[in-house]
């Protein structure tokens, strides 16, 4: 089932690869943002089915974005972190912010859409 995913990352290369992985491989509709503020604006404009969110970004980072979205009432908006940290403690910290999942960079582009779908229990 085709979904709309907002990908937020300050690294344009990663943004491009993730876009191809979800749009061309996964068949979803993709929107992008390069920081938290842009992401908030994008969500306010049109609510996506999921947000794939980087952690450290300029202007407004990942955790700040999650808090802002929840504050604005997007309580059940599906958010999945995409972190460069392999530390389990960091993963736990991110999960505790109340998100639906945490994925690790580097990710496998050919299966990213599957991973996301599994995490969010999307039916194919």
């Amino acid at each position: 089932m085709r979904k709309t995913v907002l990908i937020v990352d300050d690294a344009p290369d990663i943004l491009e690869i993730a876009t191809i992985a979800l749009r061309d491989v996964g068949g979803h509709e993709v929107r992008t943002a390069t920081n938290g503020e842009e992401a908030l604006a994008s969500v306010r404009a049109a609510r996506p089915d999921a947000v794939l969110l980087d952690v450290s970004m300029p202007v407004l980072d990942g955790p700040g974005t999650v808090r802002a979205l929840r504050d604005e009432g997007y309580h059940d908006l599906a958010i999945v972190f995409l972190t460069a940290s392999a530390r389990r403690a960091e993963h736990a910290r991110l999960r505790d912010l109340g998100v639906q999942g945490v994925l690790t960079k580097p990710f496998e582009p050919m299966t990213l859409a599957d991973q996301l779908a599994r995490m969010l229990a999307w039916t194919p």
Binding site: A11, I17, A84
Partner: protein, 650 residues
């Protein structure tokens, strides 16, 4: 016949006689001359020097009679001794004391006897007599009596000489025996008169080369005594001694031997005085103290070395007693705690210098250290400096409480503040680098993954192969980044273990799953045996990581179609998980080093490809962080078996 009564002080008299040590000695001319003189002066046939001991009279000299001794009971001299006065018997046959005396009735047929008592030197007790005997009766004029007493006095004078001489013999014997001591004596002019065997041995000169031919200046060290000895030329030698070294007290000097060697000696000079108190010479007694000096020098040298080392090593050295009171602190230790003088630390408790939070641990360490000998485990404590600053230190204690010279615990304290700061910086740096590496790697891996996945369309064969090579190597690079992070955490003891009750089968399943893809690629089968749900208190993720590394290696080194066997064995105290392969095996000389980072079995990795060289070190670090052990059994050509052993109550 009437026997002579027992004299007064008989036992003392006998002692004095024996002390003279003249009984049963050879005849001597000096006594025979006196007896001869007596026979001539008095015109008698017999004269004797008779000594009266307990049972007999024994003749030191016997002129005109062929007898060595007679029984005391029949002796005439016994009477002279008992009375301690001149005894004159004009006619023995007229004297009831002697009428039936065998010496009168039989040979030598005594009729006349006159004896003057002779006395022992010193005590003056009568010990015998000088007597004259005739075979016809006669009288003794007053003048003859006087002569007899005078002759007795001559005998006594000879006794005195005997005694004096024996004293000299004794001294000579002592001098001879004292070979370990150099003894010499001079006369008043300084000329050597005595030079004993010890002196010969020490100085190399023979007595006959120096006695009356040299003065002690022969072997005194001119350089050492310097001008004093020159000033002493022509001086009274007694004054020389007083001037140069002093009298009667030991001095440390050097004597110069015949070979020119300088020997350290302890020497005492004494001024030898005659009975009138006049100085008649010098006596010197010296002992070779080479060994002592060598020992002292060695000790002093050790001491200097010890002090120099203590002064220059950067680690602080502190000696404390059982309670922690400081008895010694090296300068580096003082610098560490920030005090300028030893007195600010000595006598104080070591705990005064520690961070309050670290004191309980330090107290425990002191308690352990007092109850052991030798070196203890390192203790990491913070020292609070006099200026309030804190330093991280590593202290190693060495118990020497039983050592009489130390009687304390020696602490070596190293300031590791900079080292710690550097470690923290390094860890932060590595974390940052690793994070920064992930971002471009994510792009590279992602791009290559998409191309390999065909998203960018079909590639020419060669391009497809090259992209695959790049993709595989980006995987290795990624693994390297992860492994380096892990090894750094293990090194810094910063790997946080999330310990929970974990079933072994779960750990094994995850590890096998992780390696399954590679196993399929390489046509290797992974077989599990005896795996059960035995529960271990471990960090399942980390143990799984260690096991994954082992299984990954086993798969990598297995021949195509080979089997990797993962087995579990539960023992009362531990669980072992082993991973066996049928690979080429590990040479014996590498079986230890493969657990060191970046050590891979020579030649193999090039063939098998792909490996960070950190898999085994990480596995080892993880297992050891759980209190477990990891080991390998391997034979070249017969495969390898890696065994993880984890205690059940970690």
């Amino acid at each position: 016949m009437i026997e002579a009564p027992v004299p007064e002080r008989e036992s003392e008299r006998l002692t004095a006689l024996r002390a003279l040590a003249i009984l049963d000695t050879e005849p001597e001319v000096r006594f025979d001359r006196i007896a001869d003189l007596a026979t001539n002066v008095f015109g008698v046939p017999v004269a004797l020097v008779s000594l009266v001991d307990e049972k007999r009279q024994w003749f030191k000299s016997c002129v005109g009679m062929d007898l060595a001794e007679t029984d005391r009971s029949i002796s005439f001299s016994g009477h002279a001794v008992a009375a301690d006065q001149v005894l004159v018997v004009p006619d023995a046959l007229d004297d009831e004391r002697f009428t039936d005396n065998p010496l009168v009735t039989g040979p030598p047929g005594i009729r006349f006897y006159a004896g003057a008592p002779v006395h022992a030197p010193g005590s003056g007790l009568p010990i015998g007599s000088l007597c004259i005997i005739d075979r016809v009766p006669r009288r003794l004029t007053e003048r003859e009596r006087t002569i007899l007493v005078e002759l007795a006095a001559l005998v006594e004078a000879e006794f005195a000489i005997t005694e004096e001489r024996r004293g000299l013999w004794l001294y000579e014997a002592v001098l001879r025996a004292a070979t370990g001591h150099c003894v010499f004596a001079t006369d008043a002019s300084g000329s050597i008169v005595i030079f004993n065997a010890g002196a010969e041995r020490l100085l190399g000169w023979r007595a006959d080369e120096v006695v009356r031919k040299a003065t002690p200046a022969l072997f005194l060290d001119r350089e050492e005594l310097g001008g004093a000895l020159d000033r002493a030329v022509g001086m009274d030698p007694v004054d020389v001694v007083r001037e140069v070294v002093g009298e009667g007290v030991p001095h440390r000097l050097h004597f110069v031997t015949r070979d020119g060697a300088r020997v350290p000696v302890s020497v005492t000079f004494t001024v030898n005085k005659d009975r009138h108190g006049r100085a008649v010479g010098l006596i010197g007694i010296a002992t070779d103290i080479s060994d002592q000096v060598a020992t002292e020098e060695r000790l002093a040298s050790n001491e200097r070395l010890f002090r120099t080392i203590l002064k220059h090593i950067t680690d602080g050295v502190v000696v404390i007693d059982r309670e922690g009171t400081i008895g010694y602190a090296s300068s580096a230790a003082l610098v560490l705690v920030g005090v300028s003088a030893a007195r600010e630390a000595l006598g104080r408790s070591i705990f005064d210098f520690l961070h309050p939070d670290d004191i309980p641990e330090a107290l425990g360490a002191l308690e352990r250290q007092r109850n052991r000998t030798g070196e203890g485990d390192p203790l990491y404590v913070r020292v609070v400096r006099a200026d309030g600053g804190e330093r991280d230190t590593e202290a190693v204690a060495y118990t020497l409480l039983d050592d009489p010279a130390v009687q304390g615990i020696v602490l070596t304290i190293r300031d590791i503040t900079e080292q710690r700061a550097l470690e923290r910086m390094k860890n932060q740096f590595i974390s940052a680098v690793s994070h920064e590496l992930r971002t471009p790697l994510t792009s590279i891996k992602g791009s290559l993954g998409l191309i390999v996945g065909g998203v960018a369309g079909e590639l020419p064969e060669q391009a497809a192969h090259l992209v695959e090579v790049a993709a595989r190597n980006s995987d290795v690079l990624m693994q390297l980044v992860n492994d380096i992070l892990d090894i750094e955490r293990l090194d810094a003891d910063a790997m946080i273990l999330d310990v929970t009750d974990t079933p072994v089968d779960e750990i094994v399943r995850q590890a096998v799953d992780a390696a399954a893809g590679m196993a399929i690629d390489r046509d290797v089968e992974i077989e599990t045996r005896g795996i059960d749900g035995a529960v271990l208190r471990v960090d399942g993720f980390r143990i799984g990581q260690a096991l994954t590394n082992l299984i990954g290696n086993a798969v990598k080194f297995s021949p195509a179609g080979g089997v990797v066997r993962v087995e579990e064995e539960v023992r009362p105290d531990a669980v072992t998980i082993s991973v066996s392969d049928a690979g080429p095996g590990i040479p014996p000389d590498m079986q230890e080093s493969i657990f060191e980072r970046f050590e891979q079995v020579r030649g193999l990795n090039d063939v098998m490809g792909g490996g960070t060289g950190l898999g085994l070190p990480i596995a080892k670090g993880i297992v050891e962080a759980h209190g477990g052990t990891i080991m390998v059994e391997s034979e070249l050509g017969a495969g390898s078996r890696f065994i993880i052993r984890l205690p059940r109550e970690a």
